[in-house]
C-alpha cells in the first residue's frame, strides 16, 4: 500500500513539475493574486487585497490570506480584480464569417425550432472566443436566431476543448421572437415602419399562443397516457417536448421585443401563458418602465450601437432607455448582440449607458451578478465570493474604459492564454522591415 501511495505522490509531483501549458494552475496547485484592488461586486472593494484560486474555485479573499508555499503568485500592484463578465446574448461559436453561409449555424429554416440546441453546434475553436474575451468576458449566452421559436441557448465559458467542457448550462433558456421586433434603423434608408390597417401584431401573438396551446394539449395527453393504459399516447413531437419546461416555468424563455405597445402585449402574454420570461431589446422600455418593473421581468440590453426605435424618442433614446429602466428598478444586463466580431465591446456598451447617467456600480453589476442571477447561476458566477467558480480577470484600470487592458483572465480557475489571432497578426506584421 505504502509503495503505491509513494508512487502516486511522485507521479503527481512530477506532473506538476513537468512543463505544461500556461493553462495549468488547476488541479492541486493554487494561485494567489496580491496587492490588487479587489471588486467583489457584492460587498465593498478591498484595497491592496488578495484572492486565492484553488481547484477552479475562489478559495479565499481578504487582506492577508493563508497561502500554500507552492502557490503561483501574481503581483497585481496598481491593478483591479473583477468577476468575469457574462455576455447575456451572443452567437459565439455559431458563426465565423457572416457572409459565408458554410461558416454560419445561427439560423435554421422554418418558424418553429424550439428543440434545437445551440450546444450541438457551438465550435469551441472559433476565433471569436479568443478575440471576444480579451476585455474580461468569461462566459456568454450563445443563442440560435430566426423564426418565431429559434431554439435553446447555452451558457458557455469562453474557453474549453469541447462544448461539454465549456457549458455551464447546456440548456440555459428557450427563445421567442415577438412580432414587430425589427432593430431600429441604424443605417441609411432604414425602412419606415408603416402601420397596417389590421392589427397584425395581435394576430401573430395569437398564432404563438395557438402553438403553445397545442403543445400543452400534447403534453397533457402524454401525461394522461402514461397514467392510464387506455389513453392512447400522442405521436412523439420533439418540438412540443422541448416546450415542456418552458410551459411549466422551469426553463426561462427570452422574448425579444422592441416597442412600448409590443412590450405591454408581451407582458400580458407572459402572464397569460405563465412563463418565466426574460425580455431582450426593449428599445422603448423606458416608456413602460413601471409596467416592466411590476411584471418582475428582467431585461437583456442589446448592443447599444443603435439608433432610437422611433425618431420621436430622441436621438439618445437607446442610452436613456437603459438608465431609466435601471432607475425604475428593472434588473438589466448587457450583451454584445448579433455581431460575433465585436464581442469584446461588451463593456463599451455598458460605458455608453454610464455616460448617459447609469451608475458605474450598476453597470458592473449588470455585467456580472445580474446575468448570473437571471440565468440561475448565482451560486457559481457573477461575483468574487469564496466558494464561487474562479471566473475573474485582472485589469489595469476601469474595465469599462477602452484604454484599460486585461492582463490576466481566469476561467474556472484556469489561467487563460490571452494570445489570439489578432496578436499573432500584430507580432508578425510589426516585424516587417520598414523601407
Amino acid at each position: 500500500m505504502k509503495k503505491i501511495t509513494l508512487l502516486v505522490f511522485i507521479l503527481a509531483f512530477l506532473a506538476v513539475l513537468l512543463p505544461g501549458e500556461t493553462r495549468a494552475a488547476g488541479g492541486g496547485k493554487s494561485l494567489l493574486i496580491k496587492n490588487a484592488t479587489i471588486v467583489p461586486v457584492v460587498g465593498e472593494r478591498i484595497e491592496a487585497g488578495q484572492l486565492l484560486i484553488r481547484d477552479g474555485k475562489i478559495a479565499g479573499i481578504g487582506k492577508s490570506l493563508p497561502v500554500p508555499e507552492d502557490a503561483e503568485v501574481i503581483d497585481a500592484a496598481g491593478m483591479f480584480v473583477y468577476p468575469g463578465f457574462i455576455d447575456a446574448y451572443s452567437h459565439f461559436g455559431l458563426s465565423e464569417i457572416g457572409a459565408i453561409a458554410s461558416t454560419s449555424d445561427i439560423r435554421e429554416m422554418g418558424r418553429e425550432n424550439p428543440e434545437l440546441r445551440a450546444a450541438w453546434a457551438i465550435n469551441p475553436g472559433s476565433v471569436h472566443f479568443g478575440t471576444s474575451r480579451i476585455n474580461g468576458t468569461t462566459a456568454a449566452l450563445v443563442t440560435p436566431s430566426g423564426g418565431t421559436f429559434p431554439g435553446l441557448s447555452a451558457l458557455v465559458r469562453m474557453d474549453g476543448w469541447t462544448v461539454e467542457e465549456m457549458a455551464v448550462k447546456e440548456v440555459a433558456t428557450s427563445l421567442i421572437n415577438f412580432p414587430m421586433t425589427p432593430r431600429p434603423a441604424g443605417g441609411e434608408g432604414g425602412g419606415q415602419q408603416q402601420e397596417s390597417k389590421v392589427d397584425v401584431t395581435s394576430k401573430l401573438v395569437e398564432k404563438i399562443k395557438d402553438y403553445l396551446r397545442e403543445a400543452r394539449h400534447y403534453l397533457s395527453l402524454k401525461k394522461a397516457a402514461a397514467a392510464e393504459p387506455q389513453v392512447k399516447a400522442p405521436q412523439a413531437n420533439r418540438k412540443y417536448d422541448a416546450l415542456a419546461p418552458v410551459l411549466d416555468g422551469s426553463l426561462p424563455v427570452i422574448i425579444s421585443v422592441e416597442k412600448d405597445k409590443d412590450i405591454e402585449l408581451a407582458i400580458k402574454f407572459v402572464k397569460e401563458e405563465k412563463l418565466r420570461a426574460i425580455f431582450r431589446g426593449c428599445g422603448q422600455g423606458f416608456k413602460v418602465a413601471d409596467k416592466i418593473k411590476a411584471s418582475g421581468i428582467p431585461v437583456i440590453i442589446d448592443s447599444l450601437y443603435v439608433g432610437p426605435s422611433d425618431p420621436e424618442d430622441g436621438y439618445d433614446a437607446p442610452f436613456r432607455n437603459v438608465v431609466e429602466l435601471a432607475k425604475a428598478g428593472v434588473m438589466i444586463c448587457f450583451s454584445s448582440g448579433d455581431d460575433v466580431g465585436t464581442g469584446k465591446d461588451l463593456p463599451y456598451h455598458a460605458a455608453r449607458a454610464v455616460a448617459y447617467g447609469l451608475d458605474h456600480e450598476a453597470a458592473i453589476a449588470a455585467l456580472t451578478i445580474n446575468p448570473a442571477r437571471i440565468f440561475g447561476l448565482e451560486p457559481r458566477l457573477g461575483s468574487l465570493e469564496v466558494g464561487k467558480d474562479a471566473d475573474l480577470f485582472i485589469t489595469t484600470g476601469d474595465p469599462l474604459d477602452t484604454r484599460s487592458e486585461v492582463k490576466h483572465l481566469f476561467i474556472a480557475g484556469r489561467h487563460i492564454d490571452m494570445k489570439n489571432t489578432w496578436d499573432n497578426l500584430y507580432e508578425r506584421y510589426k516585424a516587417r522591415p520598414i523601407k
Binding site: G314, G341, R352
Partner: protein, 449 residues
C-alpha cells in the same frame, strides 16, 4: 397644442435655419466660446477661449474678450476639439447608393441625388461630426462620383456642398464587384476574380484614352476646317458621359477613393495608378493595409478604415483592431471612418480604440477623425484643426473626447451652433410635460364638430 415640441423644434431648426441663415451674409455674426479645454490638434492643447467671426475662427487664446453684442457661450471647462470629419459615408443621398445595372458606372454622380433632409445629418451632428465625404457604394470597379459635404443642417442641397473640395471617383475591388456573396441571385456577371476586376479598370482606361484621342482629333480637324472657307465641318464624335468621367480620372480632375480589403489587390492597384498617373487619394477600409505599409507610404496613399469592424466577409477576416494604429505608426496617413449612419454618431469611441489597440497617442488618435481625413479629402486648408483663419467647425464634449464616458454637448458648423444637448434636453422635458398635461385634461371637442 403641439404634443411633439421636440420634433417641432427639430423641424423649426431645419426649416428656420434654411431660411435666411445660410442665405444671409454671416460676416457680422460673432461668437465667443469661453473656458474650454481646447484640443486644437494643430499645436498644444490649452485652457482658454475661441473667438469666432462670421464662419471662421478668428482667434484662439486665453482670456479673450469681445465687444458688445457678441454672443458668449461659457463652456465651463468642457472639452473642445475640431468638428469630426467622416471620410467614408453614404448619408444625405436618395434613390440608391449603388448603380448596379452595369459594371462600370463612372458617369453617375451623387451630386445629382443629395438629400439635405436626411435625418442622419442631424444625428451625425449629435456625435460631433461637421463634414463628411459621401459617395457611391462599392458595387463597381469604377463607380460614380462622390462629394464632400459640410453638415449645414437646414440648408439646401446646394448649401451642403463643401465648396472647393476635390470631387472623387469611387472604385471597388474584391468581393463586392465580384458579387461573391450574392451567388445565385440573378444572372452571373463578369468579373468573378480579382484579375477580372483590375482588367475591367484597365480596359476602361484604354477606352477613355481612345475617346480622348477621338475628341482631340476632332478638335484639330474642326479647327482646321473653320480656318478654311466653305470646308465641311467634321462630324463630332458622340458625347459619352461615362468616358468623360473616366477621362477626368486620367486628367487628374477626380481623386480616386478605392474600396479594397486584401493586401494583394491594394498593391496591384497602386501599381496600376502609378502606371496611369492617377491620383489615388486613399484606400477605403484597407483592412489588410497593415501588410503593405511600405508600399502605401511610397505611393503616398492614405487609408481610411474601421476601428475594429471585421469578420463579416472573408476579405475582412485577416485583420485586427491594431491595424489602424500599426499603419499609422509605420507612416501611413490613417483616418477612421464610419461607412454607416449609426457608427458616424460615435466616431470618437472608435478613435479611442486605437489607443488601446496599437498604442497610438491621444493626439494621433484624435487626428484619425479630424486632420487626417481632412487631408485625404483635400479640405485641410479649411478645416480639420482649430486654427485662426479656418472654418469654425467645432465639437464640444463634457469629458475628453477619448474618454469612454464622454458625451457630445454641442456642435458648431461654420460658426453656427447646430446641435446643443442642453437645449435638446430642455425641449424634450417641456414636450413631455405638455404631453403629460394633455393626457390628464379631457380632450376638447373637435372644432369641425
Amino acid at each position: 397644442m403641439t404634443k411633439h415640441r421636440l420634433v417641432a423644434v427639430l423641424i423649426g431648426l431645419f426649416l428656420g435655419a434654411g431660411v435666411g441663415l445660410f442665405g444671409a451674409p454671416p460676416a457680422e455674426r460673432t461668437l465667443l466660446l469661453k473656458n474650454g479645454h481646447v484640443l486644437p490638434i494643430a499645436g498644444e492643447s490649452f485652457d482658454g477661449d475661441i473667438l469666432i467671426v462670421g464662419t471662421r475662427i478668428a482667434k484662439l487664446g486665453k482670456d479673450l474678450t469681445a465687444g458688445p453684442g457678441v454672443e458668449v457661450i461659457d463652456l465651463k471647462g468642457q472639452w473642445v476639439m475640431p468638428g469630426i470629419i467622416d471620410s467614408h459615408s453614404h448619408i444625405a443621398l436618395e434613390g440608391g447608393v449603388n448603380e448596379m445595372g452595369e459594371l462600370i458606372t463612372a458617369e453617375v454622380d451623387v451630386l445629382d441625388i443629395i438629400n439635405p433632409e436626411d435625418l442622419n445629418i442631424y444625428y451625425a451632428l449629435t456625435g460631433g461630426v461637421t463634414s463628411i465625404h459621401t459617395m457611391h457604394g462599392s458595387a463597381n470597379p469604377i463607380g460614380g462620383r462622390g462629394v464632400v459635404l459640410k453638415l449645414r443642417w437646414g440648408g439646401s442641397a446646394e448649401d451642403l456642398i463643401f465648396k472647393g473640395a476635390p470631387l472623387t471617383s469611387k472604385w471597388a475591388l474584391g468581393e463586392n464587384p465580384k458579387q461573391s456573396n450574392t451567388i445565385g441571385l440573378g444572372k452571373a456577371r463578369y468579373p468573378k476574380t480579382r484579375m477580372g476586376v483590375e482588367e475591367a479598370i484597365r480596359l476602361e482606361f484604354e477606352r477613355a484614352k481612345d475617346y480622348m484621342t477621338q475628341w482631340a482629333d476632332y478638335d484639330r480637324r474642326a479647327k482646321a476646317a473653320r480656318k478654311q472657307k466653305n470646308a465641311a465641318l467634321p462630324l463630332p464624335p458622340k458625347k459619352d458621359y461615362r468616358r468623360e468621367a473616366v477621362a477626368d480620372i486620367l486628367r487628374g480632375k477626380l481623386w480616386v477613393r478605392c474600396h479594397a480589403y486584401q493586401a494583394e489587390e491594394m498593391a496591384s492597384i497602386m501599381r496600376l495608378c502609378k502606371e496611369y498617373g492617377v491620383k489615388l487619394a486613399a484606400f477605403e477600409h484597407g483592412l489588410e493595409g497593415y501588410r503593405v505599409t511600405n508600399e502605401l507610404v511610397e505611393n503616398k496613399v492614405a487609408v481610411t478604415t474601421f476601428a475594429d469592424f471585421w469578420a463579416y466577409k472573408w476579405e475582412a477576416y485577416n485583420t485586427l483592431p491594431h491595424a489602424a494604429a500599426l499603419m499609422a505608426k509605420r507612416g501611413v496617413l490613417v483616418a477612421i471612418n464610419s461607412d454607416d449612419a449609426e457608427r458616424m454618431r460615435h466616431l470618437f469611441l472608435d478613435a479611442a480604440k486605437t489607443v488601446r489597440f496599437g498604442g497610438l497617442s491621444e493626439l494621433e488618435a484624435l487626428k484619425t477623425i479630424t486632420l487626417n481625413p481632412a487631408v485625404l479629402m483635400g479640405i485641410d486648408k479649411s478645416t480639420g484643426t482649430l486654427e485662426a483663419g479656418k472654418d469654425a467647425d467645432i465639437a464640444v464634449f463634457n469629458r475628453h473626447p477619448l474618454d469612454p464616458y464622454t458625451v457630445c454637448q454641442m456642435t458648431i458648423v461654420d460658426g453656427k451652433v447646430l446641435f446643443d444637448r442642453a437645449k435638446y434636453l430642455e425641449d424634450r422635458r417641456k414636450a413631455e410635460e405638455a404631453k403629460k398635461k394633455a393626457a390628464e385634461t379631457p380632450a376638447p371637442k373637435d372644432k369641425k364638430g
